[in-house]
């Protein structure tokens, strides 16, 4: 009913916090404008792919120590990152898609092909992607579908052959499409792969065309409902490793994460409610006492004990830059740090060279509570997680998923362990 915890935002950070708290017995409601960015993500958990100098990272946990002190990973630490990843892997493996699971850890990065055949470091990946690791080289047959216009096997293969050490790849295009579909996207193919008939056609067209020592790469469309079964069957039919390469949106592995975490949340009595846009908060005595939300044409209020703010950064709308060049946090109107001062340079012409606005976000203390300009804790019962936090450049570091998961999970741990004990009271009452 009245939630103990309101999580604002339905991305990886918000969902992780929500599932962790709901499973601990708290009543949790995730309020969001719409569905989060999991649908647009590769479905991998990239912890740290590049360091502050832009150098590729092989051992991400170790490299966390080299990040600037104000980086969000500084809040969580190595142990916190590892704990969050262990928890995530455990929850996915116990979820409604089991035995679909994740492989890898934050000790060591692997190298995965992207949708254009670039080489990208990643840490924790769906089992269906794991044998795409390019570090050992080898021969790869990249399979695409003529009607899937967002994935070009020849382009992927050419770029991999040029850019990945020891890799020899070739593209094969199949003229198979989900029945009746003129313009199928990745999701339409994933739904088709969930059916044995479609898989049989793929196998029939492909099996005789594979060279002896080739691995087989598919776009990440190997089933939405039963990815483990689809992938395992293909490995068995082809008698060789099969792996998925992330696609352009819609991302099927990302949808698997959203659905799995959403179902785990429901099982634990929590719920995601979209079209609830947080517009502000009542504050009193260093606490948020009420959240205001716009729902359709109405304004409603929530009075949770705790708030986890995980609304994302600029692209998700959690942060905004107004016409007078002032950056702000949108939901609770918290101050942001890392922004250039008035009169200072705001943009540089070298687009990918690092921008002055890159690290803008909400600054928190070590317990993820937002701090004011004096550095003092502003709100006792608000914890910030994910891309709303200041100090990271996720797209350049390849750190966004790791930050979201680690800070979302830790926000939940902090609330669960809070000295106030409000949640544990509730857990007892609800038991």
């Amino acid at each position: 009913m009245k939630p103990d915890v309101v999580v604002v935002g339905a991305g990886l950070a918000g969902l992780s916090a929500a599932v962790r708290l709901a499973e601990a017995g708290a009543s949790v409601r995730v309020l969001a404008k719409g569905v989060g960015s999991t649908h647009l993500s590769a479905g991998t958990v990239d912890v740290l792919g590049y360091d502050a100098d832009g150098k590729r990272v092989d051992r991400p946990l170790e490299a966390l120590d080299g990040l600037p002190a104000e980086h969000p990973y500084g809040l969580v630490g190595r142990a916190g990152v590892s704990a969050a990843i262990d928890w995530f892997k455990g929850r996915i493996a116990a979820g409604p898609r089991a035995p679909y699971a994740y492989a890898g850890d934050a000790e060591q990065n692997i190298l995965l092909p992207t949708a254009v055949g670039a080489v990208a470091p990643s840490a924790v990946v769906p089992e269906t992607m794991a044998s795409g690791d390019l570090r050992g080289g080898g021969r790869i047959c990249v399979v695409g579908f003529r009607a899937l216009k967002d994935f070009f096997p020849a382009l992927v293969a050419d770029n991999l052959s040029r850019g990945a050490d020891g890799v020899r790849a070739r593209g094969v295009e199949l003229d198979l499409r989900p029945e009746g579909r003129v313009d199928p996207n990745a999701l339409a193919y994933a739904r088709a792969f969930d059916h044995g008939g479609f898989r049989a056609e793929v196998v029939a067209q492909l099996v005789a065309r594979l060279a002896e020592d080739e691995r087989v790469a598919f776009p990440a469309v190997l089933g939405l409902a039963s990815p483990h079964e689809v992938w395992a069957e293909l490995e068995q039919r082809f008698s060789r490793p099969v792996f998925e390469i992330p696609t352009l949106p819609p991302s099927v592995p990302g949808i698997r994460i959203y659905q799995t975490l959403g179902q785990l949340l429901n099982r634990a009595g929590g719920r995601v409610v979209v079209n609830n846009i947080i517009t502000g908060a009542e504050r009193s005595g260093g606490r948020v006492t009420a959240l205001r939300a716009r729902v359709g044409l109405r304004e409603v209020t929530f009075e949770p004990e705790w708030v986890v703010l995980a609304t994302g950064g600029f692209s998700a709308g959690g942060l905004a830059l107004d016409s007078s060049w002032v950056a702000r946090e949108v939901a609770l109107d918290l101050p942001v740090g890392g922004a250039p001062a008035p009169g200072e340079e705001r943009f540089r012409s070298a687009y990918f060279g690092g921008q002055p606005m890159d690290r803008v976000g909400v600054v928190t203390d070590r317990e993820q509570r937002p701090v004011g300009e004096d550095g003092g804790r502003m709100l006792e019962n608000v914890l910030v997680a994910g891309a709303t936090l200041a100090g990271a450049v996720p797209w350049r570091e390849k750190s966004g998923d790791g930050i979201a998961l680690a800070t979302g999970f830790r926000a939940a741990e902090l609330i669960a362990a809070s000295a106030a004990g409000r949640v544990s009271d509730v857990a007892t009452a609800g038991a």
Binding site: V35, V295, G317
Partner: protein, 431 residues
């Protein structure tokens, strides 16, 4: 008496054109926020099962850019949108996708003309007045396979589609004779066409339940149809007439500070939000005041419960039910209050269905050309209900209940029915 002439939408006045253009600007303005992330397409229940509908982004924000202002859409695939509204709910950018599509479809329909079928099925009061006096004969006709096959040929209503049986009496007739005892809290009941013509029993139980929790229930006279079926079928001019008449009937209660509750969740959403946004009635004073005061019945009861004002002694119900939250219920943005209410009933096992849509979407699934699509959309839900072997299936929307009941053979009831039973109002809690 409201104008029920079925020819009144054939030609629209210049005024209506102007109104539609203002509205077009409002809703159309949101399409610039579309970043083509495809999240809406991954949730669209119709696009998931048929290639005839390419998806809400494709026919909505994407196609809208190519539509010449003031001209109708040349793209007939629009007509395969069921109007469930899920696309708007999940959009993380606030694009009014469903509203854009509903408006574009209205223009398409205007060009092609409204079929006799679409004029008839969009006017429940007309059907009600025709069918009720000789309900026995009408129901026999509706249950007769040869006559239904004829109806499919002549009218285009699928012979297998679930159509409701006339009660042979009206809720309004009952309400006129019913005296609600004075109580501290006053509530106005918006019964909708479903309770009036087909399920007067639900209306009576709702009144009894509200009285049992200490409400004096008034049933405002002059309630006819909210205009939702007309809106869904693109007949905007007639829909505006209907909803204005409806708002006029309810406005005095709202102005007197009396909350209005509705058991038809889609019609309640129509009065709360959709009519104002889709039919451009933001400025209609009656609708505005009704919109601010109206609640879905479960939303209202949970609100009372959260305030500690729901005084209702509930007896154990040793049964198993499934619960499906219909799309339009989700459009309220209130979570699933029916689950929270049923959670108050001792010994009742409630299995939450994990499905977005049952397929029928009001009048969509009864049409000859759309029945199979509707059955495919609902197939996942029907399977879940079949596997659960429940005593009853619970759902907030009447058209969904009829459709699900026909597809599964499991008796479907409104959540109010469960509370009514548990409150001992049905006699022994078993009737």
């Amino acid at each position: 008496m409201i104008d029920m002439g079925i020819m009144d939408t054939v030609s629209r006045s210049q005024h209506d054109h102007d109104v539609a253009d203002v509205l077009g600007d409002l809703m159309r303005g949101t399409l610039d926020h579309c970043v083509k992330c495809t999240i809406c397409e991954t949730f669209c229940p119709v696009a998931g099962v048929t290639p005839l509908f390419p998806g809400p982004k494709t026919v909505g924000p994407q196609a809208e850019r190519f539509r010449v202002r003031g001209e109708e859409s040349p793209d007939k695939s629009l007509d395969y949108c069921s109007g469930c509204g899920i696309c708007t709910q999940v959009c993380p950018q606030g694009v009014h996708i469903a509203e854009i599509n509903t408006q574009a479809r209205a223009k398409l329909k205007e060009r092609d003309g409204f079929s006799l079928r679409d004029r008839l099925i969009a006017r429940p009061p007309l059907l009600g007045r025709l069918g009720t006096p000789a309900a026995g004969l009408t129901n026999k006709t509706l249950a007769s396979r040869p006559l239904r096959l004829l109806g499919e040929k002549v009218l285009g209503i699928h012979h297998k589609a679930a159509v409701p049986m006339f009660a042979g009496r009206t809720f309004q007739g009952w309400a006129k004779k019913h005296h609600s005892p004075p109580a501290p809290r006053r509530v106005a009941y918006f019964h909708g066409c479903g309770a009036n013509w087909y399920e007067p029993d639900l209306g009576e139980k709702t009144v009894a339940l509200l009285e049992a929790i200490g409400c004096q229930v008034e049933v405002p006279r002059g309630q006819a149809c909210c205009g939702l079926p007309l809106q869904s079928n693109g007949q905007f001019a007639a829909a505006r007439k209907y909803v204005r008449t409806m708002a006029k009937a309810l406005a005095p209660a709202a102005r007197a500070g009396v909350d209005i509750v509705g058991t038809s969740t889609s019609c309640t959403l129509m009065l709360k939000r959709e009519a104002r946004e889709i039919l451009d009635l933001m400025e209609d004073p009656d609708l505005e005041v009704v919109s601010e005061r109206i609640y879905d019945i479960c939303e209202y009861l949970v609100m009372l419960h959260d305030r500690g004002e729901l005084a209702l002694a509930l007896q154990p119900l040793n049964m198993t039910v499934t619960y499906h939250a219909p799309c339009q219920q989700q459009g309220h943005g209130i979570g699933k209050p029916a689950l929270e209410l049923m959670g108050l009933i001792p010994e009742l096992t409630v299995i939450e269905n994990d499905a977005t849509c049952c397929g029928v979407a009001g009048t969509y699934g009864i049409k000859r050309e759309k029945y199979d699509i509707a059955m495919n959309v609902g197939s996942g839900l029907f399977e879940q209900i079949g596997e659960a072997r429940p005593d009853l299936a619970v759902c907030d929307s009447e058209t969904c209940r009829w459709h699900i009941e026909a597809a599964t053979g499991v008796r479907n009831v409104h959540p109010v029915e469960m509370l009514h039973r548990a409150a001992g109002l049905s006699g022994n809690g078993t009737a």
